[in-house]
Subunit: 502 residues, 2 copies
Amino acid sequence: MSTDLSKFIRNKAFLDKVVTAEEAATWIEDGMTLGMSGFTLFGEPKLFPKALAERGKKEKFKIDLFTGASMGPAADQSMAEADIINLRVPYQGNPVQRKKINAGEIFYIDQHLSHVAESIRQGTYPSLDYAIIEAAAITEDGDIIPTGSVGNSPIFLDTAKHVIIELNISAPPEYEGMHDIYMQSAAGENTREAIPIFEVSKRIGTPGMKVDSAKVRGIIISSEPDIPSPLFEPNAETQQIADNLLSFLGEEVKAGRLTESLAPLQSGVGSVANAVLNGMKTSGFKDIVVASEVLQDGVFDLIDAGVVKFAAGTALSLSKKRVESLGKDLAKYKDKIVFRPQEISNHPEVIRRLGIISFNTALEVDIYGNVNSTHVGGTHMMNGIGGSGDFARNARITIFVTQSTAKDGKISAIVPFVAHVDHTNHDVDVIITEQGYADLRGLAPTQAAERIIENCMHPDYKQQARDYLAAAKERGGQTPHVLEKAFSWHTNLAEKGTMLIK
Amino acid sequence: MSTDLSKFIRNKAFLDKVVTAEEAATWIEDGMTLGMSGFTLFGEPKLFPKALAERGKKEKFKIDLFTGASMGPAADQSMAEADIINLRVPYQGNPVQRKKINAGEIFYIDQHLSHVAESIRQGTYPSLDYAIIEAAAITEDGDIIPTGSVGNSPIFLDTAKHVIIELNISAPPEYEGMHDIYMQSAAGENTREAIPIFEVSKRIGTPGMKVDSAKVRGIIISSEPDIPSPLFEPNAETQQIADNLLSFLGEEVKAGRLTESLAPLQSGVGSVANAVLNGMKTSGFKDIVVASEVLQDGVFDLIDAGVVKFAAGTALSLSKKRVESLGKDLAKYKDKIVFRPQEISNHPEVIRRLGIISFNTALEVDIYGNVNSTHVGGTHMMNGIGGSGDFARNARITIFVTQSTAKDGKISAIVPFVAHVDHTNHDVDVIITEQGYADLRGLAPTQAAERIIENCMHPDYKQQARDYLAAAKERGGQTPHVLEKAFSWHTNLAEKGTMLIK
Ligand SMILES: CC(C)(COP(=O)(O)OP(=O)(O)OC[C@H]1O[C@@H](n2cnc3c(N)ncnc32)[C@H](O)[C@@H]1OP(=O)(O)O)[C@@H](O)C(=O)NCCC(=O)NCCS
Ligand SMILES: CC(C)(COP(=O)(O)OP(=O)(O)OC[C@H]1O[C@@H](n2cnc3c(N)ncnc32)[C@H](O)[C@@H]1OP(=O)(O)O)[C@@H](O)C(=O)NCCC(=O)NCCS
C-alpha cells in the first residue's frame, strides 16, 4: 500500500518529481558545491548523503559541502569516510570527519554561523550547484516546510541552481507552522530593511521556505527518524558550575541590572548548559524567554516546569528520550517554540536589540579572559566556533563556562595564554568554573587576571599561575607576559603529560 | 569689550551659569567618575582638563575618565602627568599616558567603541558624577550643539549627575546642523526600536544633544582652537600599499561583487589610510559614500575632487592645514558631512545593513590571518582596539593593512603567531602590505597561510616563515603550529634585536 503522497506534497507541480536517493546521487559531479539542510543533527537529509557516500566508494569525486551546522553519522561521517568532501563549511562535530580535517584531508572553515548567508549572497563562495533540503511537507503554494532545523536552508534554496527535496513522511506534522522564515535582501543603502524582531515570540516571516519549482529536480521520500544526541547528565562539577552561574545571575537581579525574568537567554549545547537549565527549575527565575541557537532537552523541561514561556532558535538538539516523544511533545509545545534561519537567530542586530544573556562552554581560557572554543593544543580542531562569536560579541552579558581542569587534572583549562583565540577579552564578561566565577566587567587586564586566578583556577594550578603573573608583571605592559613561557604549560603537557610544573 | 554670550547661549536658563575652568575644577572629588567629550583630538574640553590637572599637581585625588576616544596633550597628557587618572576608558593615543598605562600606573580598558554606551546604560560601570562637554552653542530649547566630534557625549549628558559645558566661542558656527544625535533606549523585548539608518546621508535624530538644564552646574567659556594631528605624507611603501588596496577593490568591481561606487567605506586614521584616500582621486571610483568613524584630511580632499558624495562619522581628525581652514571648509562641506554618536556610527546593525567595506592598520598579522592592532610585543599597549573590532566583525569586506616590516626591517609585521589577538581570522578577509595582497575568503587556515606568506611577507622573512609552516604541518591539525617556536621570532627580537633567524 504505497503512501498517498499528496497528503505531504500538496502542490501538483511537485508530484511527478519523486526519485530514489540513488538516482538523485548520480546527478552530482566532481567539483560541485552542495548546500544541505541540517543543524545539530536535526533537519538533515538522511537517505541522500548515504547514497552519495555509496557512490563515492566506487567513483572518485569531491564536493564542497555547506550546511547549517553539524550533521549526523549517516551524513558527515559516511561522506567523510568515502573521501568525497573537499571543503566543509561552517561547522561539524563528527569524530571521523574531525580526524580528516586535522589530517589536512578535508579543508574546513568554521565561519561565524550568522556570516554564511552574507558570504553566499555576496558571491565570495563558489555558487551552489545543488541544495538538498529535508522537508516535512510541500504546501499548496509550493513552499517547503522544514523539519527540526532551519539553519541556512532558505539561502541554499534561493541561490542553488538545482534543488533536491528529501520529504520525510515520518516527521511529526506539528512541525508545520513552527518555522518563521525571514530572508534578508542584499546589504547596501536603501536595499535592506531592519529585521523586524522586537519580541522573540512574534513571527516576522512565513511558515514555509520559497523555492522556484522549476529548480526542483527531484523529491526523495524518506521516513528516517530524527537523530538523537547524547544527554550528559550533570556530574558534581557541572552541577557546581551551574550553581555558580545561577548565583551570578541572582547577584545581577539583586544589583537591579536584571529582573526575575532575567533577559532573553542563549545557551550552548553540552553538559553544563543542560545542568544550568536543569537548575533553573528551582532557581526562582520565571517567565524566561529563550532566544538561542539550539533548543535542547533542558528548554523543553523548563517549558514543562512553567519557567520558560517561549523559546526561539534555529534547531533542536535532543536526547534519545526526547526524540522518541517528539511527536507528542511538539503538539504540546507548538505555540511555545519557533525556528528561524541561523542568520536571524544569530544576527548582531537582533542580539544587541534584545540584550540577550549568552553562555557557552570554552575549551580553554587565559588569565586575561581570552577564550579558545575550538582548537585543542592550539592546533587540532574540536568542532568549530559555531554561533559562540555571534553571541559573545553582541550579548548584554557574555559568559563562558568550563571545568577548571580536563583529562583528570593533567590539563588546566585556565592557562597563561590560550593556544588559539576564538574570543578576545573585549567580548568576555564572566568566566565560570566549578571553583567560582570571575566578573571581569570594568576591570583592566591585570585586575582581571588576579580575579580569574583566585576565583576560577583549580587549586593545584593556582601557584604556578600566580608565579607566571608576577614574573610577567616585572616586564610591565598593559597585558604582562613572559612570552617565552606563554605556552610552557602546553609544551610541558606535550613533553611530560601534564601541565603541572613541578 | 566682553563678548555678547547670548549669541552662543540662546537659552536664558543657562546664561547665569558661566564660571571659570578653575572654579569648575574645584567641584571634582577624589574617586569621582567623569565623562568628557572628545574623539581623535576633536570636540574635547580644553580649559577644564588643564585646570583639573593644575589642581592635581597640588592636591592628591584620582578620577575615572571616560571619553569618546583619544584626547590631546592639554587633556590626556596633562591629566596623566598630574597622576589624577585611576581608570581610563575606552581609547587613548598619548605617549605620556601610554607610558603610565604600560607601567601599571593607570588602569586602562580599550573597550569596543560601540559597547561603551551599552555598558553605561546597563550600569556595569560606576555611574558618572560629571559630564564635561565642549559645545559650539546652546539652543533656544537648551540643547547642546557639539563641535568636531559627538563620541559618547549624548549618553554622558543623559546619565551624569552633574554637567559642565565648555562653550567654545571660536568654534565655526557652521558646526550647528552637522550633527545627527540619536540615542538608543534600553535593550530588551519591545523596549528598543530598530536604528532607522538606511541611507548614510539621511538624518534620523536631532541636531543638538538633550540635557536637563538643572544638571548643568557651570558653563566655561573658551576660545581654544581645535587640535591638529600630524599628517603622514605617503612614502613609497604606504603608496604601494594604497595601490595594492585600490587594485584589490578594482578586482572586486571586475568580479561584479562591487560597483564603481564600491560600498560605504570605513577607513582608519594613519598614513596608509590617507594614501588610499589620496589614490582614490584618480582610481575611477565615483559617488563614494564614506560611513566611517573618523573623517580625516583625505575625505575632505575626495569631496573636493568630486569622488566622495557624502561622509558620515563620529569625529574629525585633521592636519594643521585643514584645522586652519576649518571655518571656510565647513561652510563648503556643510551638506556633505554628518556626525553621529560612536554607538551609532560603529553599530553592528548599521554596519551589517549597509554592507560597509572596512580597512584599518594592523601592528602585526600572523600567517593564519589573526590581527594584533594594539600590543607591541604582545604586552605594551600602543593605542587601543578603537572601532576596528566593530567594523572588522560586521563589514562586508574586512581589510587590514600594514607595512611588511617595521623598525628598518628588524621586525616582520607578519609572524607565526601574533603576540596579542584583537581580531581572529574569522573576522579578517584581506591582508595588504606593500608586497601585495592576500584574499583569504573561502580559504581554510593552511591555504590562507601559504597565500599570506607568498603574497604579503617581506622577502627577507619568507623562508623562515615557510620553514615554520612546514615544520608545523608535520604535527598536523586544522591550524598547524610548533607551539614552542610560535613566539620565537619575538623572543629573538628581544634577545638579538631582530626577528631574522639566521
Ligand atoms: C568547547 C566544546 C568543545 C566543549 O564541549 P562540551 O561537551 O561542553 O565539554 P567537554 O568538557 O565534554 O569537552 C569536550 C572534549 O574536549 C576536551 N577538553 C575540554 N577542555 C579541554 C582542554 N582545555 N584541553 C584539551 N581538551 C579539552 C574534553 O576532555 C572532551 O574530550 P572528549 O570528547 O575526548 O572526552 C563545545 O562547547 C564547543 O564545540 N563549543 C564551540 C561551539 C559553540 O560554543 N557554539 C555555541 C552554541 S552551541
Ligand atoms: C596599529 C596602529 C598603531 C598603526 O598606526 P599607524 O600610525 O598607522 O602605523 P605606523 O606604521 O606608524 O605604526 C605606529 C607605531 O607602531 C610601530 N609598529 C608598527 N608595527 C609594529 C610591529 N609589528 N611591532 C612593533 N612596533 C610596530 C611603528 O614603528 C610606529 O612606532 P613609532 O610610533 O614609535 O614610530 C594604529 O592603526 C592603531 O592604533 N590602530 C588601532 C585602532 C583602530 O584601528 N581604530 C579604527 C579606526 S581609527
